[in-house]
């Protein structure tokens, strides 16, 4: 007898628990977070990551300067193209994108274009770099940050 009461109680509790949302209209959110990368965004991200990795490999001494420069200029060109493609895609979507992101992109693009000259060794770094990629010397805008 106790057994059947126990079984009935368990079954009832389970039924109540799983049926409640449907009967009472409780909804789980299904909202898609707006963090999916578009194709151009994904390409941009990949290009920037590749740039960072080359920086690291060079700093860690895995690439010599000649390899580093040739890879870097190639990757910079790619990253620029990806940034522009992404911006074009956004513009054609007519999406009003986040001003922060816009600013960030503008900053990176300017950095890739203009660069910061290290006052220690004369190497041209991306704008926004905190350290010189060639000699590791701290760059001026580190203080500004």
């Amino acid at each position: 007898m106790t057994l059947y009461v126990g079984v009935a109680l368990v079954a009832a509790a389970v039924l109540l628990f799983i049926m409640q949302p449907v009967v009472r209209g409780l909804h789980a959110s299904l909202e898609r977070e707006d963090d999916e990368l578009t194709e151009t965004e994904a390409r941009k991200r990949v290009a920037l990551l590749a740039l960072r990795d080359v920086e690291y490999d060079f700093l860690a001494g895995k690439l010599d300067e000649q390899d580093y420069r040739s890879l870097k200029s190639e990757l910079t060109a790619e990253a620029l193209a990806a940034l522009e493609a992404d911006e074009a895609a956004r513009a054609s979507d007519g999406a009003s994108s986040d001003p922060d992101v816009e600013e960030e992109i503008a900053r990176i693009r300017d950095g890739l274009r203009s660069g910061v000259v290290c006052d220690d060794c004369g190497f041209t770094n991306e704008k926004g770099s905190r350290f010189c990629s060639a000699c590791g010397h701290a760059l001026a805008d580190r203080v500004a940050r």
Binding site: I18, V22, A28, S29, R32, L49, D53, Y56, K62, F131
Partner: protein, 688 residues
């Protein structure tokens, strides 16, 4: 309690099916109430499976021998500890335990994602419930119901196989199950990504920790199994390429491949189809491993006939999963295009690819060898098994290439490496490897394969140490930190990269330990009390072993023991006393009549080698067990096993490295959702 558990198991099936249907329907119609109900059904199934498991444990504790499962895996004399772990001692209980763990992980996955990644969750819940429902169906309908009752109640059970009454055997299976079952979560997310059309790297980022956790449990589980075999089976080895061992290795190999190839997708936007395929394949292989072990397909043809139902259900489900996976991938193929191409054969990308090919190749060769008895039976009518020799011949070269790639991968340049890049990074390590191999050669080691392994091992270790050194030095110079602090920051700022390197150190140690087996010493002596034998070890030591006497206990059934013969051996190494070692023969009351007594080995471990004693035979067994104190002669097998300890130590390092990679970094939490760039991809030195 046990009856309640049985009812709970029956109730769990409709609940799981309900959740499966509602999950798919909720995802399709985007109805939040259906999805919430599906998610709740997962908690419900977990609760019901917990009640069912408690029912089985209660049956063990209450000596309820009317249950087939309890009667076959316990008896009244069994220690309390083994009664509790009886839940996973045999096939029926372990299937329930498996489902319970899956329910547990599924609940965690649903709970941790209750407020985020919502677009994935309908299908994740649906897929998890599908797999849960499958296991519940197996439990209820495949003649493996742990609640099945006998027609009568035996006075006592048959007891637990003595070889399973071992600490390692108690924790080894659950550890493996943790690995197997937790891999269902990445699988569910992958399927959900395919169904929902969310095909960027997001599903990988969401499941990276699940994959690493699962991989960690698999690795530890496999090594624990090796340790159990080493200490308990009494033949001196730790791996026999047995079908069940292979079955656990298969998903480990593909999961390892997956862990590497996702980095290519995250860093270069390539290999999307491959990664999807690998995660689906790994899940299939975890099913295959269960299937192989449960259906008894390989070990004997007879058990195949007995378990035809379970074999069919498993084959049907695996077939359905495979078909659904292929269809889904083909359907989404246009959205799974690469964002980049491989530019050069000599590059980090191609090193990763090569690593993947090797791992998957190893998996297929192991699978082929394991299935060979079935294949040969189907073709020629006779069952032929391939011995360890086949597996070794195929997998040793693959293993060596993989080992070398462990060193090459991290330092070869992305995209394309120039000759200078290669020279710069590989000159010292190659020299180091050659120096080590030459040094070992000159000290008398002549085994080509072992020398190659150790040489490559030294090459890889040099590279990893150099990586740590260069990273620390660069950071110390840039940030003006001391070296210790710089090293600490280096690792904590990019746990994935440096944790991975630590795992690699563990793997190198494992490989070097495996190569040590080429120098195993194995000698057998006849000894009377007082006899002394000498054994020379490959490391140049001499062990002196003295037979100090054989004692025979007639236990007459206590602790399930009929008798126990213990020989005490005093050990000295190069003249230094090392204490006593014992090795035993035991006959259990629970063993089948006429089966040979079991062996307990005596092991003394040193950093570079193990001394391993086996009481291989008593000279006059009938006299010894009838308390004749003169029957003291015996055959002692003495093994010296170089580097075995490195396996266990290497596994610890591997686990530590995985934990480093898993540990949430403060950095990552701070930026939480703001930055979709994963820490691994960032160069540690310039990132912050």
């Amino acid at each position: 309690m046990t009856l309640l558990g049985e009812f709970a198991l029956w109730i769990s099936l409709p609940v799981a099916l309900w959740g499966m249907v509602l999950g798919f329907a909720g995802g399709r119609t985007q109805r939040g109430d259906l999805v919430l109900s599906a998610e709740r059904s997962i908690y419900a199934v977990f609760g019901l499976l917990a009640i069912a498991s408690a029912g089985i444990v209660a049956a063990f504790l209450g000596d309820r021998f009317e249950y087939w499962y309890v009667a076959n895996y316990a008896n009244r004399e069994l220690e309390l500890f083994y009664k509790i772990t009886g839940l996973w001692a045999g096939q029926r209980g372990s299937l329930l335990f498996w489902a319970l763990l899956l329910g547990f992980f599924s609940s965690i996955a649903v709970f941790t994602n209750r407020k985020k990644n919502r677009e994935f969750m309908p299908y994740v819940a649906a897929v998890l419930q599908t797999v849960l429902a499958f296991f519940i169906v197996v439990l209820l309908f495949a003649e493996v119901n742990p609640f099945q009752r006998l027609d009568f109640t035996p006075a006592n059970g048959r007891g637990l196989n003595p070889q399973l009454q071992n600490y390692w055997m108690v924790i080894h299976p659950p550890t493996l199950y943790l690995g197997f079952t937790s891999f269902t979560i990445p699988f569910a997310f992958a399927v959900s990504a395919l169904l929902a059309g969310r095909l960027d790297a997001r599903w990988i980022q969401l499941t990276r920790r699940w994959i690493l956790t699962s991989w960690l449990f698999l690795s530890i589980g496999i090594v624990m199994g090796m340790r159990w075999a080493y200490l308990e089976l009494g033949w001196g080895g730790y791996w026999f390429w047995d079908p069940v061992e292979n079955a656990s290795l298969l998903p480990w190999l593909t999961a390892t491949a997956f862990l590497h190839s996702i980095q290519i997708q995250e860093n270069r936007g390539m290999l999307k189809v491959w990664n999807m395929s690998l995660v689906l394949l790994t899940f299939l292989l975890t099913l295959f491993a269960t299937f192989l072990t449960r259906a008894g397909l390989i070990e004997s043809v007879h058990s195949f006939a007995e378990n035809i139902t379970i074999a069919m259900i498993f084959l049907g489900f695996m077939g359905a999963v495979l078909a659904a996976s292929v269809v889904l991938i083909l359907y989404r193929l246009p959205q799974l295009q690469s964002e980049n191409q491989i530019e050069s054969f000599v590059s980090r990308e191609s090193a990763f690819l090569f690593n993947n090919l090797m791992l998957v190749g190893a998996a297929f060769s192991v699978m082929f060898g394991t299935m060979f008895p079935l294949i040969s039976e189907a073709i020629t009518g006779t069952e032929i098994s391939v011995g360890p020799a086949f597996f070794q011949r195929v997998n040793f070269p693959i293993g060596l290439v993989l080992l070398a790639l462990v060193g090459i991968g991290p330092v070869i340049a992305w995209r394309r490496a120039t000759r200078k890049n290669l020279q710069r990074n590989f000159a010292t390590p190659v020299v180091m490897g050659l120096v080590v191999a030459a040094a070992l050669w000159s000290s008398g080691a002549r085994h080509a394969l072992a020398l190659t392994t150790w040489g490559i091992g030294a090459f890889v270790l040099t590279i990893i140490v150099t990586e740590f050194w260069k990273g620390t030095r660069a950071r110390a110079r840039i940030e003006g930190e001391g070296y210790v602090l710089a090293l600490f920051h280096l690792v904590t700022r990019n746990r994935r990269r440096w944790g991975g390197y630590i795992v690699h150190v563990g793997m190198v140690m494992l490989f070097m330990a495996f190569a040590g087996a080429a120098y195993n010493v194995d000698e057998r002596f006849f000894m009377e009390p007082g006899d002394v034998v000498e054994v020379a070890s490959p490391m140049g030591h001499t062990y002196e072993l003295r037979h100090d006497g054989l004692s025979v206990n007639l236990a007459n059934g206590q602790r399930n023991l009929l008798w126990q013969a213990i020989v005490t051996v005093s050990v000295s190494k190069d003249g230094e006393p090392q204490g006593l070692l014992t090795t035993e023969k035991r006959q259990y009351t629970t063993q089948d009549a006429g089966s040979p007594p079991m062996t307990e080995v005596g092991v003394k471990s040193y950093p570079l080698e193990d001394l391993y004693l086996i009481l291989s035979e008593l000279e006059d067994l009938p006299a010894a067990v009838s308390a004749d104190s003169d029957a003291q002669g015996l055959y002692l097998q003495v093994l010296v096993k170089p580097l075995v300890g490195w396996i266990w130590f290497g596994c610890l390092i591997l686990a530590a490295g995985t934990v480093v990679a898993l540990w949430p970094s403060a950095d990552r939490q701070r930026r939480a959702s703001a930055d979709s760039v994963e820490p691994a991809a960032e160069p540690a030195v310039v990132a912050d």
